[in-house]
């Protein structure tokens, strides 16, 4: 009876933890079918079976750490199936084979369809559409031809090639899927910046990369945890504990499927207030009840801004740079602050002072797979428009990939939150802790608008400004909001600042 000995999948690793078995006793496996996911000090790795046949014994339980060379699974010869039937067939073979190849090096390849990607047929056709690529129209047509050809004439060989590619590259899809599901719902108001009160760079949590990945997947902020691992590292158990149920998908508040997430017959689901959620709650409460908020609204005609965006896109300097209304809003905010610098300040309770900043670290609230984060563009006031565009693009891309560093979120001085992307008109934003004001962008939609004495369709939006009424009076707040609105309605007025 061949036994699979735990290999050294890195160079000189001595042990690994069995994370998840992908097969169970009684399952038939082919050579190079993925049987188990293990975690080493370096990464999460999936192991392909060296043997074909029936799984006769799982020799190491999930969660156990064993030395390299330990037999972990016994696999019988294909014909060796005994009369003793397995208790039940795999609950859902496809579900079993949904493989997170987060490490492209993780898995080997194998005997055609027996390789991972068994469920490729399900996801294949939609895979490429999920991430639209920047292509010329003609190119896309050509690609469509290619796909048709694939679909009609896919030979076994071709399927293998595709399987191999998709298996080895599976991470891309996985991440794309994750990124495609905004976890912050429509109530996407900015969270606090967890590190705002600490000096940048102070916050360095020690955790192995697989644990970091787990934390990211489960939406747990490593910095919120009490490390119990060796040498003060955050362990897998710490993360799982913080996430509530080990290995389960923790539903995100307001996220898709929230209402349906309860077990049948259960009228309520209790979820622990931990991790990102706990920190967001504390920051929101702190800000909302320490700073008396005033929110003002304005509905404006943003047609000229959309025209400007379209014109900027055509310019050579902006080639390859993302230009959006957010960019114009960011610039408008930076300019408007020149007339009302108090907007860009901090209430220093301890010192009994108001600190007016002569620089702007402009925060952009971003919905990410791990929750809401507010990274900021450092010294945004000193950037040219194209530099600002690049900085915002980079910052939001980093946030969406879940790679935002604590330093990126620290020391913000003003925040813009764009709930318009969720199709919402506007909201009453809560000031990011440590700041004094926040601007909320609503959806820009065509609506009837009165120009002169005519009703004409215009691109209309509502913007909202919340400010700290302890030190910003109504006149200052209104002036700022009106200045921003002025630039959005007529970007030429930017020359006035």
């Amino acid at each position: 009876m061949p036994e699979y000995l735990l290999p050294d999948v890195g160079e000189g690793l001595t042990e690994a933890e069995i994370v998840t078995w992908k097969v169970k006793v009684g399952d038939q496996v082919a050579i190079n079918d993925v049987v188990v996911e293990i975690e080493t000090a370096k990464s999460l790795v999936e192991l392909p079976s060296p043997y074909a046949g029936e799984v006769t014994a799982i020799l190491v339980a999930e969660g156990e750490t064993v030395p390299v060379g330990t037999p972990i699974i016994a696999i019988g010869a294909p014909a060796e199936a005994t009369g003793e039937a397995p208790e039940s067939p795999a609950s859902d073979p496809k579900a079993d084979m949904v493989i997170d190849l987060s490490n492209p090096a993780a898995s080997g390849g194998g005997e055609g369809e027996s390789l991972v990607g068994r469920n490729k047929a399900d996801r294949g056709p939609t895979r490429r559409a999920r991430r639209p690529l920047v292509e010329a129209a003609g190119e896309r047509t050509a690609r469509a031809d290619v796909h048709d050809l694939y679909n009609q004439n896919a030979t076994d060989q071709h399927a293998k090639v595709e399987h191999i590619v998709s298996a080895v590259l599976g991470d891309a899809e996985h991440q794309a899927r994750a990124a495609g599901e905004p976890t912050a719902g429509p109530v996407s108001l900015p969270a606090e910046t967890p590190a705002a009160t600490e000096a940048a760079g102070d916050v360095r949590v020690l955790a192995k990369p697989p644990v970091r990945k787990l934390a990211k997947d489960l939406g747990v902020d490593l910095r919120s945890l009490e490390p119990t691992g060796p040498d003060g590292t955050v362990s897998r158990a710490d993360v799982e504990q913080a996430a509530g149920a080990p290995g389960s998908d923790t539903p995100t508040p307001g996220g898709p499927g929230y209402a349906a997430s309860g077990a049948p017959g259960e009228r309520e689901t209790r979820e622990p207030i931990k991790g990102v959620r706990k920190m967001m709650a504390s920051a929101m409460t702190d800000s909302a009840f320490s700073a008396p908020h005033v929110t003002e609204w304005m509905t404006i005609d943003a047609t000229a801004t959309l025209d400007l965006v379209a014109r900027l896109k055509e310019r050579r300097e902006f080639k390859g740079v993302k230009v959006s209304p957010l960019l114009v809003f960011a610039r408008a905010v930076l300019l408007a602050m020149r007339r009302t610098p108090m907007i860009n300040s901090t209430w220093d309770e301890a010192a009994g002072e108001v600190v007016v900043k002569h620089y702007v670290n402009l925060g952009i609230a971003a919905a990410t797979p791990r929750g809401l984060v507010v990274p900021n563009v450092k010294d945004a006031h000193a950037l040219s428009l194209v530099e600002l565009a690049r900085a915002i693009e980079e910052l939001t891309a980093t946030a969406r990939e879940g790679r935002t560093q604590p330093a990126d979120m620290a020391s913000g001085t003003f925040t813009i939150t764009n709930v318009g992307v969720f199709g919402v008109d506007a909201g009453t934003p809560i000031i990011n802790r440590g700041e004094s004001a926040i601007l909320c962008m609503g959806a820009i939609q065509p609506k009837p608008w009165v120009v002169g004495d005519q009703v004409v369709p215009r691109q209309v939006t509502t913007i909202a400004l919340s400010f700290d009424h302890r030190h910003i009076d109504g006149a200052t707040g209104s002036q700022f909001l009106a200045d921003v609105a002025g630039i959005i309605s007529d970007p030429a007025t930017a020359l006035l600042f």
């Binding site: 290999p7 990464s43 790795v45 060296p50 005997e111 055609g112 190119e139 690609r143 290619v146 590259l169």
Partner: protein, 385 residues
């Protein structure tokens, strides 16, 4: 031509244009990612159906070797494996362009080139399994040993090419006799002193060497943007020889360009730098985890440029290969996988004394004494032989 900030010197963007995501206008391509033939004014070629099927078969089998070896590492049968996934066209195109009399210097990832030189893939596995030192006879295949030291082989290659000049096998006009050297390296190695020195020597001596750089965009975790401010192929001009950028995922263009550069070298016209623009779809090695440093978007984009898929589309669309061909090839690939698995596990462990036979071609008296002393020591153990 000055910097916006008022400094001196040329503005790189003005000289070389903005950074190009897709290889830029100088990218030589004969087969588009969609599998359409492109005609190039300088490097266009006619390919027979046999030749095209041959390229396809090479790439499929080489990918199979790579995938199987990766699995063998996960089975605990190999210590490590350097994956070539995504670079099949660059390697087959270059490998097939070399003639038997040419001499090839590989890195440690040239499994496809090794295949073209007729090296049994099991010999590669022996190195990565740690049962030998990758000690095939280079003169048997005109294929040097795998070189782990980054870029070192380019110096060996240039020296070898200078030797060819002295042997009088360059520029004689006899196609059976004239030879050149094909030196492989990667974008990461382009930052090494060795590579730059070999460029200088090759230029100074007009050595018959083709520097073939597979720019797979990643030096382990370091992106190419941090290695070079200008497209790599442009660097050749500074050394005084031509540089070309070819679509490294296009086997036809890679073949055409490499064989033209090799012919130029054989004719005595000196070195060429060929930058094969490609992408490392897998990890640096089985010990690496690229999700920690690169963006899935890029991988997704390059997936659409797969070197095998585009040739398959071309073959099918033009009726150059039938279903039987693909079925037979699938079977051949499966059999190759089986052979590699079984062959790998059957490799004998090396004997302690073997190392003494592998150092010098003629053993020195001192080494003989050391060997005998070690043998006597081993004999003191019970059951030793």
């Amino acid at each position: 031509m000055t910097h916006a900030d008022g400094g001196f010197g040329p503005d790189l963007v003005e000289v070389f244009g903005p950074r190009q995501e897709d290889g830029g206008p100088e990218l030589i391509q004969l087969l588009s990612p969609e599998g359409e033939r492109i005609h190039h004014p300088e490097f266009d070629m006619d390919f027979s159906a046999d030749q095209l099927r041959g390229f396809y078969r090479d790439m499929v089998l080489v990918r199979r070797i790579d995938v199987e070896a990766t699995a063998l590492q996960r089975h605990g049968e190999l210590g490590i494996w350097a994956q070539l996934l995504g670079q099949e066209a660059a390697q087959i195109g270059a490998g097939r362009a070399a003639r038997p009399q040419d001499f090839v210097f590989p890195t440690y990832r040239e499994h496809g080139v090794a295949w073209c030189r007729g090296l049994d893939p099991l010999k590669l596995l022996g190195l990565f399994r740690g049962v030998d030192h990758g000690d095939w006879d280079p003169s048997e295949y005109n294929f040097s040993l795998y070189t782990i030291v980054i870029g070192a082989q380019t110096l060996h290659a240039t020296g070898y090419a200078m030797g060819m000049q002295r042997d009088g096998v360059v520029g004689t006009g006899d196609p059976e006799r004239d030879a050149a050297v094909l030196a492989h390296f990667g974008d990461g190695a382009s930052s090494q002193g060795d590579v730059n020195e070999s460029f200088i020597f090759a230029a100074s001596y007009n050595a018959p060497v083709v520097f073939f750089c597979q720019n797979n965009q990643w030096a382990i975790s370091e992106p190419i943007e941090r290695q070079s401010r200008i497209p790599l192929f442009q660097r050749a001009l500074g050394f005084g020889f031509p540089g070309l950028r070819v679509d490294g995922n296009d086997v036809l263009a890679t073949y055409a360009v490499t064989q033209a550069a090799l012919q130029r070298a054989r004719d005595g016209q000196g070195p060429t730098l060929v930058e094969a623009y490609t992408y490392r779809m897998g990890a640096h090695t089985t010990t690496d985890d690229p999700t920690r440093y690169r963006v899935s978007d890029d991988v997704e984009r390059w997936k659409l440029k797969d070197p095998i898929a585009r040739l398959e589309v071309y073959l099918k669309r033009n009726g150059l290969a039938d279903e039987q061909f693909f079925a037979d090839l699938a079977e051949e690939a499966a059999a190759l996988g089986h052979t590699l698995r079984e062959g790998c596990k059957a490799m004998p462990d090396p004997k302690p004394l073997d190392i003494f036979d592998r150092v010098y071609s003629e053993t020195t008296p001192e080494l003989v004494a050391q060997r005998d002393g070690f043998a006597a020591y081993l004999a003191t153990f019970e059951g030793a032989h």
